[in-house]
Amino acid sequence: MFDNVWLIPILPLIGFLINGLLGKKIKNETVIGGIAAGAVLGSFVVSCMTILKLLSLPSTERVAEVKIFSWITSGTFNADVAFLIDPLSCIMIMIVSGVGFLIHLYSIGYMHGEEGFYRYFAYLNLFTFSMFLLVLGNNLLLMFVGWEGVGLCSYLLIGYYFHKKSAGDAGKKAFVMNRVGDFGFLLGLFTLFWYMGSTHNIWTIRFTEMAASSHLLPTGGIVTVITLCFFLGATGKSAQIPLYTWLPDAMEGPTPVSALIHAATMVTAGVYMIARMNYLFIRSPETLTVIAVIGACTALFAATIGTAQNDIKRVLAYSTVSQLGYMFLAMGVGAFGAGIFHLMTHAFFKACLFLGSGAVIHSMHGALHHAHSHDDAQDMRNMGGLKSKMPLTFATFLLATIAIAGIPGFSGFFSKDEILWQAFSNPHHGNLNLLLWGMGAVAAGLTAFYMFRLVFMTFFGECRITPKAKDHLHESPMVIVFPLIVLAGLSVVGGYIGIPKVIGEVVGGIPNYFEHYLSPVFKYSEEYMAEHASAHAGVHNVALEWGLMGTSVLIALIGITIAYTLYVANTGIPARFTAAFPALHRAVYNKWYIDELYDFIIVNPCKAFGQFLWKGFDVVIVDGAVNGVANTVMAFSGLFRLMQTGLLSNYAWSMAFGVVVMLSYFILK
């Protein structure tokens, strides 16, 4: 049925191998880029065929596993290299291959002339491959392979400009933070495997088997432990509190990388993972609360930081963190479908935003380079008035911004609103719901604010770079612009496949296709909720839903208005504001000093402790003990040696002494 699904990951892998091994010899950028993009395009095509095939099946039968080979078999443990085809993985491969292809395409233009062009595409292909493994893997371990693989590629791509120390640092930070998450992931895996095995003799890490036997799991208790562990993994990968700090730093990588990895795909892996194992998470209300709270906090917290950043990519990075927070909020409130929906729309508009910013930076960089200026090409304070120079870029960027701001009619509106409504109405968190909704709504307002701040600072007003450089600003080539257009289009229309029920009913009975499509994946959760429905009654009030929707739109509009006021109409206010609250601004600008805090409480103590263990413990105590024994023996040697005086009387004395002692012992005993 899905026999050729293996092509999806394998094609990028082949691309990686060709470019990685022979790229240096090929040299021709078109060929290299073509191979890489072609590979992903191939995957996209196969993905399309796959999803079509899937859709052709009745919804209850939309699950299939394709085993490639047996991977690790040991004792009780078995993990195959096998792919799981179901609505969730299909939607993911569509996003990965589709957005991925566009970004590959974009990269050909963006990375033009870079040293190590082949390396870049090799990594990118490797990333795509890993991402496919992650979403297609039919068991936790294979997912983990992809999970680590994307982390690795992220590391490689962040550190692409390895001669910059900051790039290397950022890469390492990303990898290590991900590793902290992996620690949780592994523990979750172990605990789940061990618990299911030891209590029910079901030794499995296969998703389908786990799902089928999930009814054996208790509510809370061990499941909370398991899910919290997994959630720790997710926070690492998806840059949630407390492990989010790597993501802004990851902007050291080339911009398309940020678009692909740090916006559209990899960072959403945590969300995917939770959705994939929804039947576990639903069984632990505690975990859900934790997820929801952390998601909401992250959404809000990152949004605050986003308001004060001047680096165009950093704003987007914090925006990503914030949006990921939304997705986790969705997960936390049990709105798995909504979360995935937001994942998808976010992939569209955030990719578009990043690519658009990339186009801006690219253009700025070229201009500054021509003008021999050393100004930062990414600093928004150097930009301004670009809309005339780069109209297409501006247009697409604006569309995506509107989408992310949650203006009705655009994709972001549908997904975000669904999440907010669920946050308010879900049956899991009781009184917390209002708070969650409030935080989400405020974050939405902040999002609208900082996104429009970005747009205004970048595209509106006076151009703030040197006039000489200004002349060199120009619209990007088609290979760059084309993906922007496609993504902008998707940002606009992407939301219509998942129109919320209330709106759908009004508009004319349009069903929520997306929810319907995904429902088999969440079957077990729904069954569980159905069983426990009496205990947890959610809120169902159409009027309220409309009201909340209006509120959030209003908040977004307020945010936009403020942004307009501050950055277009009355540009002096921000400076005055900063002057009025310097501490607050400094704190926000410096990202609440979280990095420094981490350095202070974790990194530096670790290093100091390492130093102590080495110089203090290893050398002094352990080796000291070893050498101490040796030295003691040597000292005795010196002592014994001195007893050998060379004097005959002493020797005789020793003999006589020996005799006397021996005799005394045996005679007097």
Partner: protein
């Protein structure tokens, strides 16, 4: 007054001794009548003589003949040890000529005296009467005093001789007093009879005279094997004595003392094993520890090997303390392999040294390894064997010694033994470190490896390596030898 009729005597057991003594006397005559004659010829003759004696001794394997009214016996035990003595003497003779020529004291009397020493040792091994053992010991000792002081123009040699003599005589006093007490307690000096009489005692360990006699007598042997605290003479004497004689002294006489004491303790005093086991336990630990620990800081190789020789006596005492088949067979095997490896090591020292041995320290070996790779390889093998690293004879020997102790239940003794063995690795390795891993201070003069020395080295290397890899034959011989006791 009737004539004393000398009883009919089976001379077979002492044929080798007679042969060797006769040879020694012939050699003496040769030296007396041709004082300027070739000394190496004498050496060669005595080596051949020793080889012939070895054949003679070897042909007696399996026999069990007692003679001279029970004062001497030919058994496998004696045969095995005699082989060790002959080996020790033979190898020492091979390496003597070069050394004695260099030191200018190549007197022809050397070889007869070595042969007489060997006769003394052989008598110790085969004697079954305290008197025979005592006289054998004295023949050996007196000869050794001479040998130690043989380089009479060298003050060190004089000192060595004098020290050895005075302390040796002192220990003889204890030995004799012990024998006297045993005689008093049992009424006889024949080992077999002593055994019988003690066997009839109800509680031999309560017989204080017997126990004291045993202790005092053991003191005498302990002195010869250089067991602590009777070991103090060893480093000085070994350092001062002419090197080939040190090689000889450290192997043959030590084995002889073990032979005699093994025979006495295992045949005559097995009922007192609780006592002497305890005693030897302590002495073994003391000896190993003192020997090894002191050796760690020795720069002079001869002195270092002297301390090492103390330590090896300690290892053998471990087997002795166990007193069972495995341990005692281990002693036999060990003494044999020790003769190979130790004399081999001394042979190398002789080759390295200059006249008067001004360069007798470990440091003087720096760079030796790559100047004379074959000699250094041989030295390396000896050192590893002394350290007890497989696959050398030294390892197998230690294995059996410690096995004996473990079999007996002396686990701690074995543990202390192996710890000592581990410590000893340091100073043996130090030799290797200097040979291979340090740059030479000065150019080596090319030492001429004379044919006898080469032969000695060849035998020593073979004797160290082959039993290390295929020890079965020798071990079986040792087992057989010990069975008859």
């Amino acid at each position: 007054m009737d004539m004393i009729s000398i009883p009919a005597i089976n001379m077979t057991p002492i044929l080798p001794e007679i042969f060797l003594s006769s040879l020694a006397m012939v050699l003496l005559l040769i030296t007396v009548f041709s004082p300027g004659g070739s000394k190496s010829l004498l050496g060669n003759i005595s080596f051949i003589g020793i080889a012939a004696t070895a054949v003679l001794v070897g042909s007696g394997w399996g026999a069990n003949i007692s003679s001279f009214n029970g004062s001497v016996i030919l058994d496998n035990f004696a045969t095995f040890f005699k082989m060790v003595f002959l080996l020790s003497a033979g190898l020492s003779i091979l390496i003597s000529d070069k050394y004695m020529n260099r030191e200018g004291c190549n007197h022809g009397e050397l070889y007869p005296i070595i042969l007489f020493t060997t006769v003394g040792m052989m008598l110790m091994a085969s004697g079954t009467d305290l008197m025979v053992i005592f006289l054998g010991l004295e023949v050996m000792s007196v000869s050794l005093y001479v040998l130690a002081g043989f380089n009479r123009n060298n003050l060190k040699s004089n000192e060595a001789g004098l020290k050895y003599f005075l302390l040796g005589a002192f220990s003889t006093g204890f030995l004799l007093y012990g024998m006297a007490l045993i005689y008093g307690a049992t009424g006889t000096t024949r080992i077999a009879k002593i055994a019988t009489i003690i066997g009839q005692m109800t509680l031999p360990s309560a017989n204080i005279m017997l126990v004291a006699g045993m202790l005092l007598m053991f003191t005498g042997f302990a002195f010869k094997v250089a067991a602590a605290p009777f070991h103090m003479w060893t480093p000085d004497v070994y350092e001062g004595a002419p090197t080939p004689m040190t090689a000889f002294m450290s192997t043959g006489p030590k084995a002889a003392a073990f032979a005699a004491s093994l025979r006495i303790f295992l045949i005559a005093l097995p009922t007192l094993q609780a006592e002497w086991g305890q005693l030897l336990w302590v002495l073994a630990v003391l000896t190993m520890t003192v020997g090894n620990i002191t050796a760690l800081r020795q720069d002079n190789i001869k002195r270092m090997l002297a301390y090492s020789s103390i330590a090896h006596a300690g290892y053998c005492l471990v087997g002795f303390a166990a007193g069972n088949g495995t341990g005692t067979a281990g002693i036999l095997f060990y003494m044999l392999s020790y003769a190979f490896m130790n004399i081999g090591a001394f042979a190398i020292i002789i080759l390295v040294a200059k006249k008067g041995e001004p360069n007798g320290t470990v440091m003087d070996l720096a760079g030796f390894g790559f100047k004379h790779p074959i000699l250094a390889l041989a030295m390396t093998i000896f050192m590893f064997s002394l350290a007890g690293v497989p696959p050398t004879a030294g390892f197998i020997g230690k294995f059996y010694l410690f096995s004996g102790a473990i079999q007996k239940g002396y686990i701690w003794l074995a543990i202390l033994g192996v710890l000592n063995s581990a410590a000893s690795v340091y100073y043996y390795l130090r030799v290797i470190v200097y040979m291979y891993m340090k740059e030479p201070n000065e150019e080596f003069e090319w030492t001429v490896v004379t044919a006898p020395v080469a032969l000695a080295l060849l035998i020593a290397v073979a004797g160290t390596l082959i039993p290390g890899v295929v020890p079965s034959l020798l071990l079986e011989l040792a087992q057989n030898a010990i069975k008859l006791i």
